[in-house]
Amino acid sequence: MTLYLSILTQILITVVAVCGVYVLTGLTGMFSLGQAAFMAVGSYASGILVVKCGFPFWLACILAVLIAVVIGYLVGFPTVRLRRDYISLVTLGFGEAITALLNRATKLTGGASGFIGIPRKTTFLLALVSAIAAIAIVSWFKTSKYGRQCIAVRGDELAAKAMGINVPKIKMNAFLLSVAVTAFSGCLYAFFITYVDPTIFGWKKSADWVIMVFFGGVNSLTGSVVGAFILSGLPEVLRSLDQYRSIIYAILVLLIINFKPSGIFGEWELSPRNLKALGEKLAKRSRKEEKTDGAA
């Protein structure tokens, strides 16, 4: 695999993960600082199932996602009933607990030295198809009754309840979908890098994903995907700047918060209808300019 194809594959895996984060943070307004732990669960579970139990790759992926969803349910059950700010705290604690657990369970996970010997199954094509599938499913979710209720809950929980919306259930649905998508990205990751260790799944990774969602536009899936592309591609392209990544991210966040709080795309979504509307708007503007030019 050439270098560029390999970088692109990694970016696409991040896009899948960020689709999951978008459902939670963008659509429902919940911040998870332990989202990367679900990627870890997906990575380790699928890796262990294939290497130690001899399962086929596809079956291991399905089982790993299911395991992550069950864990997500256990974490989510008390969490979705909490106030928003506590959700970040609980998920942060959970995420760090998972990394600690992976470090300690040496026999099963290889501990701090990592889990090695995972066969390479993730090709560029698989990553591409997965990213497209993740984007499609999340955008269908967004326009469904569930997505609409998520936006309502994000906006005003009291009014949502007064409309008959079961708020904890809606939050749980969003949480589990986001966990499933993120865990799947973990499967792709493990079978691409062929090696996983606990340190890469800490809260910093979760925070990076949240930044990507905000960078592109917290209310736009298009924005989140573009944000994931740019921000995960940047350090790959500028390899020499890798150690300054946190600084670059921090500056970007400051710039975004100051100059475009709703992110690059705001609420705009890529769709045939919106593209057409944008085209008409641009055409109108250029016509207007022509007119003023003519007048001058």
Binding site: I137, W140, K145, Q149, D156, K161, M163, G164, I165, V167
Partner: protein, 254 residues
């Protein structure tokens, strides 16, 4: 048995007795006004009836079913619609989508339809849109369905909120100061709308309002609250002549 029966409810916040011993019986087609000075506990009454708070004492019964301790969203599904004093429409959704949110809990497709455009989902979404557009038409907001509510005038936002409450198919509709912040023309349009809905749909309406001319002109029965207590109940004419009401509103004669 009346459609909505509120029996002797009380609610305190710490030492503050927000409602003391409030009772009300409303039948379909009736409009009940609840008036009183600021801090009289009017909105708290709505919050207890609709389940935002649970009453310390007393009971609330809807269609013969005890809803006193039920969760708020379930009370809504039993047939309780409401609007808010300070308009609470959902940001990030269009007018139509705001109304659709009230239909969504009734929409009959599952999680598979939430992830993929199944035929069931498409037909349910279409049914929802038709119902919501009907209600928007009823309140005269059909032309604004693709607008963002925050871009609309206050009076129009009120109408959207009413359409959203109607989509819950309420048996009882609670309107919390629907005329607040409206200009005189909008107030008279709103009065017409409330009366028309009351006749056409035939639910019970409970109305909190500061504008006495509005309440007096359309209510069948008026409850006057002051410092958490009910000081008078009766028809608009009875209430108007009640000395205690006059005292609460105009002060005591020295």
């Amino acid at each position: 048995m009346a459609l909505l029966e509120v029996k002797n409810i009380s609610k305190s916040f710490g030492g503050l007795k927000a409602i003391q011993d409030f009772s009300l019986e409303a039948e379909a087609g009736e409009i009940h006004g609840i008036i009183g000075p600021n801090g009289a506990g009017k909105t708290t009454i709505f919050n207890v009836i609709s389940g935002v708070y649970t009453a310390d004492e007393g009971s609330v019964t809807l269609k013969g079913k005890d809803i006193t301790k039920m969760e708020q969203y379930l009370i809504t599904r039993e047939g309780m619609g409401r609007t808010f004093q300070n308009i609470r429409l959902f940001k990030g959704l269009t007018v139509l989508e705001n109304v659709l949110c009230a239909f969504d809990p009734q929409s009959k497709y599952g999680i598979v339809g939430g992830l993929l455009p199944t035929p069931k989902r498409l037909s349910e979404e279409k049914r929802g849109r038709e119902i919501c557009e009907q209600y928007l038409e009823l309140v005269g907001m059909a032309d604004y369905k693709n607008e963002r509510p925050e871009n609309l005038a206050y009076g129009k936002q009120r109408r959207v909120e009413i359409a959203r409450a109607l989509t819950c198919h309420p048996k009882v509709l609670l309107l919390d100061e629907p005329a607040a912040g409206l200009n005189p023309t909008e107030v008279s349009e709103l009065t017409d709308l409330i009366q028309r809905l009351s006749v056409d749909i035939g639910f019970a309406i409970l109305l909190i309002e500061h504008r006495l001319e509005l309440v007096m002109s359309i209510s069948h029965k008026i409850h006057v609250q002051n410092f958490g207590k009910t000081i008078a109940v009766g028809t608009p004419d009875e209430v108007r002549q009640n000395p205690e009401v006059i005292e609460a509103y105009l002060g005591k004669e020295e």
